[in-house]
Assembly symmetry: C2
Homo-oligomer: 368 residues x 2
């Protein structure tokens, strides 16, 4: 009994079997990762360039300890985009564990991705709140979390990081880094700049007409909400993802010029057609990820070499297939292995077909 | 006792003292007006070009009766924009009462505003729900409701409509019709077209990259929410408010081109400056109207002629002064009157100054 009690205390304080993680940058995202990791039983050490932020994260239960953990088996880099690459390098040098990041632009990290211990990441969740005060263990629950495995990515590293991130309730989506950057320009960066621009134009008009902003109803408030966020992160994001943002801004400008022509010409038919297309797309926007009830197991024999899981999971993304779980079984001989995936049953055959078209020999088994 | 009971039944069914209103177009807005009017004790008759919609409005308690009411002392025209002008004319012909509308473009109604019984209006509230099923008695509570009185507007007509609309919990804002149309292009029409365009571009990108829409997080969802609305109302709105929409679209295109240059040049300083301006404006966006606790009474002697209340209330709007109540007291001689306004105390002196600068002789009294 006494021994049992002692063990319990040790478990909580310094169980040597508790997996150890490290977080660099303990703001909203880093703090939420800390809370989510600790809820899963991890020992979490963290730091921030602002020491009060790290101390506050500890007070709020997002960290066990403030500082560095050379024994961390997994490090999350959650600093602003401009500092991510150097912190990834530092973590790869000072630990022997895995490293991932949460930066919203992946291009600057591509050179580091040849390191088999690093996998780029980007959780697609946020909050209007800023800093660790807004952190929540369930911030990622039901949201997409992009991982950007590449040819050099070690399968075990990817599978491990994927499992941890999935344990936060996130849906992991594998996308190559360059395509990720294009995509976030479309669904995040350019919309953000547009929201700020709409808000600024309304404000400029309001200088002349004080009442204008009192007319701003729910739709305008919804559209400009993100413009209330802190601008500090945007120069880095725009700098790092310049090419994609400029390209997508050009598309938007062109499309708005087209709309202007349509309105000027009173071309009702085309206007309705465009708005109908937008409406259908908005109504089809996937809702929060829900884990499918019915799963199928796909077993894929693979050669045990880097990049296999990158290829397989990116293919799943391309085919719209959600992966609920990944396991890697190694054969005794060492050169061969089997990747075992749990996927939603409804799309399992589509996935099987895609794998076969890419030279794999998957087998499919329905789970009861 | 028996008589008392009988009287009660009569009160509910056909009290000749119940004020009578009429609603043309019993969708989301018309239905909500019906519910709000009935909650204030009005007898409400209504019709819709779709008879099932009018019957449904009655079932939902938004109407006492389906049809026309030649004895209506107030008619709300709540049809789509394209039908408003003809329905206003019809109501002015078939009743001797006052008429107002809820159309989101006022230019087409300007010729009718010379009729002293008609005052244009536009409640700045809506819902993602469509039709009478989404109607709520409190839809307008805390939101702005624009009235567009002009030189010819009869003071009593304006004051009466203003009082009714205020009784729904709305904050009435007086704006000249042309300025209203400019303003809604800025805060409603162009943002709506932009939301639809962002959604459409994302959808086009997603044809190539299936996973893109799974990356759409809260910000993108907020920005594109209005694009889910039914496109049917937009050709009329864009047709009627073409000039203002084209002008504001041009401003937006120009501003986005400017942002594109700034991003392309990696001009971090200017980018942060623009985003800071947008942020400050968003944080300053007035929240839902709350009736001020402390009111002051402003008494303004006026000549009893059309347009006085239009001038006075538009001036209040220009000065950012909320009017909580309006009363008109007539002198025995008939030619003179006194307009009595309740305004928020904090801005009462500013309002007094503005009135004096416009040739009025207001007196100010603080209410305990």
């Amino acid at each position: 009994m006494t021994f049992g009690h002692l063990q319990l205390v040790m478990n909580e304080a310094s169980d040597p079997h508790r997996p150890r993680a490290q977080i660099v940058g303990t703001g909203l995202i880093g703090g939420s990762i800390g809370l989510a990791l600790r809820a899963q039983g991890w020992h979490v050490t963290g730091r921030d360039r602002d020491p009060t932020a790290a101390n506050r994260a500890r007070e709020l239960g997002a960290l066990d300890a403030v500082g560095n953990d050379p024994n961390a088996e997994l490090t999350f880099i959650a600093t602003p985009v401009g500092a991510v690459a150097s912190e990834v390098e530092r973590a790869l040098e000072t630990t022997t564990g895995l490293v991932t990041d949460v930066g919203s632009v992946k291009a600057p990290m591509v050179p580091l991705m040849s390191n088999p211990r690093f996998v780029g990441g980007h959780p697609m969740a946020g909050s209007e709140l800023e800093g660790v005060e807004g952190a929540r263990a369930d911030l990622f629950d039901g949201h997409a979390w992009v991982l950007t495995p590449v040819e050099g990515t070690h399968n075990e590293a990817f599978a491990r990081i994927r499992t941890v991130v999935s344990s936060f309730g996130a849906e992991v989506v594998s996308i190559p880094p360059d395509r990720h950057d294009e995509m976030v320009a479309v669904v995040s960066h350019v919309p953000h700049l547009t929201a700020a621009t709409l808000m600024r134009l309304a404000d400029e008009s309001a200088v002349e007409h004080l009442a204008l902003l009192r007319l701003a109803a729910g739709g305008f408030r919804d559209m400009t909400r993100v413009a209330a966020g802190h601008p500090g992160i945007w120069p880095d994001i725009c700098g790092e993802n310049r090419e994609a943002i400029v390209t997508q801004l050009s598309r938007l400008i062109e499309a708005l010029s087209e709309i202007r022509e349509i309105v000027a010409a009173d071309d009702r038919h085309t206007l309705v057609k465009l708005l109908e297309a937008a409406r259908a797309a908005r109504l089809n926007l996937p809702t929060r990820f829900a884990r499918p009830d019915e799963l199928a197991e796909v077993r894929i024999p693979v050669r045990d070499r880097p990049g296999e899981l990158a290829r397989i999971t990116t293919l799943a993304t391309d085919l719209g297939v959600s992966i609920a779980d990944i396991e890697i079984a190694h054969s005794a001989e060492g050169e061969e292995g089997v990747v075992i995936l749990l996927v939603e049953q409804a799309l399992a055959e589509r996935f099987q077909g895609g794998l076969m078209a890419n030279g794999y020999r998957p087998t499919l088994r329905t789970l009861e």
